[in-house]
Symmetry: C2
Subunit: 449 residues, 2 copies
């Protein structure tokens, strides 16, 4: 019988789960410090909730669930698996508007499913960690989101990372200034979004193929390259770098797109020096694939890693699709799986995560002694210790060997002599040392390690 | 546009999530104290992994996922949603046998999906909390599982609960002793499993209808009734009650089923007095619906609640269906949704769960002051406090009103005067008191509450 997990999906054994829970715990803790609250939505949504929200390609990748029961026509699907956490959020805000606060700030860490072709590091079931603030158009929201994402990365041990920042309105203004016809803006964005992957020549070729005039394409790419080249000087004074980029944008846009420029300036002004301010870099080439962004856009980059650890932006129209009236919104999504891969490769997990399943193993000496062994285990557990009981009346040597193989640091032995005198022998499997202590003192010895 | 969650499924708003996380946290903590380790499996399984494992009715309730891509015939399903946590565990043990310890003890808290007709308290997406010990036939396993489940309930605040205990082998022996033909044992078990719901007359009628001889049915029901009647005396001396039931069973079985009887006696002998020993009651009428149990069976009952909060038992053959060779296994599943319903109805959640989203809200005084407000927020967060920032330059009164509506206990105000002198005004929204303190002392004031 086939015992593989489904294609592109994974079983998480205990060590995997501990690592995942550690990262999720840091994310949740940081977001809570920013006043975000947890939200969970069902894995399954009505199929109409999802279809048409992710473009043609997205629709194709949605896992569809067969309709059940008598009336169902063969092959009909009425439900589908969650594809991201943003559309369910929009549905929840529309559905529960009256119960939610004016400024609803939620984080959500749950799996999503996409019928993509599985590849190294790309799975069909994977977790997203989304944080979104609903209800305000103020740039405080953008500044706080960037700050929170930065805090998550810092707490996880990422020393150098970049929070790339751009604005859809500014980008549109640049395209106009470059003479790209309005009808080609979408095509140009798709091409520009590949700058990281295919380089300036690749993008230039694609822009040409999509009908963007050569002169405009050249102007755009030259500007982006010169900003990128200045990046290495940015670390010394990030605020000055960002202000310089803003000034160049101002000149290129020549007074157009003043609202978008004002928002970008606001965000930069609000960054806390030493906090997110040390990591945010204006990047006029940043495009982000998704079509629903309406304002600021973000992407998280770390050195020596192609692709991003997450991204997001402002999307003031999406909730309106469900609610009928517009509700401003802005968010960032962290890619848990990529974060885990990078942290694993770079040895960034704390040592104590690979911990033993228990602090101590209680051995069995004789069949008659088993009830007392279970009592000892209960006593130690009531002191908060994690206690494994070897389940079978086995040779002591085999029990010790098993405890060692599980990396359990201590075992207790209660032989006939100990039982008669109310003592317990505690053996340190690392050092081989053992000591006989009164029963009430065992917990203390174990806690001192 | 329809904004409902899918039928039988639920959105969990922040307060719901906090309650769920609290209960799951207690469950995980207790199980870890018993040496159990976390496991997670995909929500989606290959459809063959699930079909045929849950009986005909179970197969009908499995959510099936449409095959994708060019080659797929219309309506074909190749994947399905997880239906329980036991079959995926069996698959994982078979798949990863070489990487797992000899005694693999795992807990798993994840949602499962069943296309049941939704009813009050019955959902199509719900969480199971399973704990299983793989690899040993020793009754230490049963005793530890009962003890762990009891600890969970005690820690959650359930004062009186019963861990009902029986054994499939003993039950079969009883059916034989009652003259139920071997071919009718399955039917008789199904009928007896309804004793709680339909009472002795209902069961008697169903046994008769299924062809069980009246005399045998009468003998069984009389025995079960007399044990049930003795229950109210059990609290005073549970061990004596259990031993008395064992003795009556011994007499009725007249020397048959000695292995099963030995196992039951072992479990009772191993219970820690004052721990699980105070809550386990032998109940010879307990049948459990599922067909895969091979030994001891358990069910958790609390007063004034029809149905159970969980159950389980030994199933020594299920893993063999995937692995080819038998591996002993035993487990208990807690029903998270029912536990939450009961705790909600009985007011058992700690008060601090309905907590505010933040310890303090930082107000905005003027547009120019916003960068400094964000810096103050960053300072307080670095001290571990949860800090909300009111995002917009609004009237102070409206900001205070918003903080109150969110039950945030404190706000900070930095007006022109405070800004000039490096002070911060901290206002307690509960008492109305306010004090002006040096900026470095704000965290201390807030922590003292």
């Amino acid at each position: 019988m086939n015992t593989n997990p489904a294609r592109g999906m994974r079983d998480f054994l205990p060590e995997d789960v501990r690592r995942r829970q550690y990262v999720i715990g840091v994310i949740a803790d940081v977001y809570q410090r920013y006043g975000f609250e947890p939200l969970e939505t069902p894995a399954v949504e009505n199929i109409e909730t999802l279809l048409g929200k992710y473009g043609e390609e997205g629709d194709r990748l949605i896992f569809k669930i067969l309709k059940r029961g008598e009336g169902a026509e063969a092959g009909q699907a009425d439900l589908a698996l969650r594809y991201d956490l943003t559309v369910p959020l929009a549905r929840v805000v529309a559905e529960h508007r009256a119960r939610l606060p004016k400024f609803f700030k939620r984080y959500q860490v749950q799996p999503v499913w996409r019928a993509d072709r599985p590849q190294k590091g790309r799975f069909r079931e994977f977790y997203q960690c989304d944080v979104d603030a609903i209800g305000s158009r103020a740039m405080v929201v953008e500044a706080e989101l960037l700050s929170a994402a930065g805090d998550v990365l810092s707490r996880l041990g990422f020393a150098s990372y970049t929070l790339r920042l751009n604005h859809r309105g500014v980008l549109s203004g640049l395209l106009e200034a470059a003479g790209v016809p309005a009808g080609l803006h979408g095509d140009a964005l798709v091409a520009l979004d590949k700058l990281d992957k295919v380089g300036p020549e690749g993008v230039a070729a694609e822009l040409r193929q999509r009908g963007v005039p050569d002169a405009g394409a050249g102007m755009l790419l030259e500007f982006f390259s010169s900003v990128a080249a200045a990046q290495h000087t940015a670390a010394a004074d990030p605020a000055a770098f960002n202000r310089a980029v803003l000034d160049r944008l101002e000149t290129l846009l020549a007074g157009t797109r003043s609202e978008a420029m004002g928002e970008l300036r606001d965000i930069v002004r609000l960054l806390v020096p030493g906090g997110a301010g040390a990591h945010v870099r204006l990047d006029p080439s940043l495009a982000r694939g998704l079509s629903y962004y309406t304002g600021a856009i973000f992407e998280i980059a770390v050195p020596d890693l192609a692709g991003s650890l997450g991204g997001g932006g402002r999307y003031d129209n999406l909730i309106g699709m469900f609610l009928g009236s517009e509700v401003p919104a802005c968010g960032i999504s962290l890619g848990l799986e990529r974060i885990l891969v990078v942290m694993g490769e770079r040895g960034m997990f704390p040592d104590n995560l690979a911990k033993a399943p228990a602090d101590v193993m209680v051995t069995q000496w004789s069949v008659d002694g088993v009830p007392d062994a279970l009592r000892l285990a209960a006593e130690l557990r009531s002191e908060g210790l994690r206690v494994e009981v070897y389940p079978e009346a086995d040779k002591l040597g085999r029990q010790l060997k098993y405890a060692s193989s599980r990396a359990i640091p201590f075992v207790t032995v209660v032989g006939d002599e100990e039982a008669a005198t109310g003592m317990v022998t505690v053996k340190n499997l690392g050092t081989g040392e053992q000591q006989r202590v009164p029963r009430a003192g065992v917990g203390g010895v174990l806690r001192r390690g």
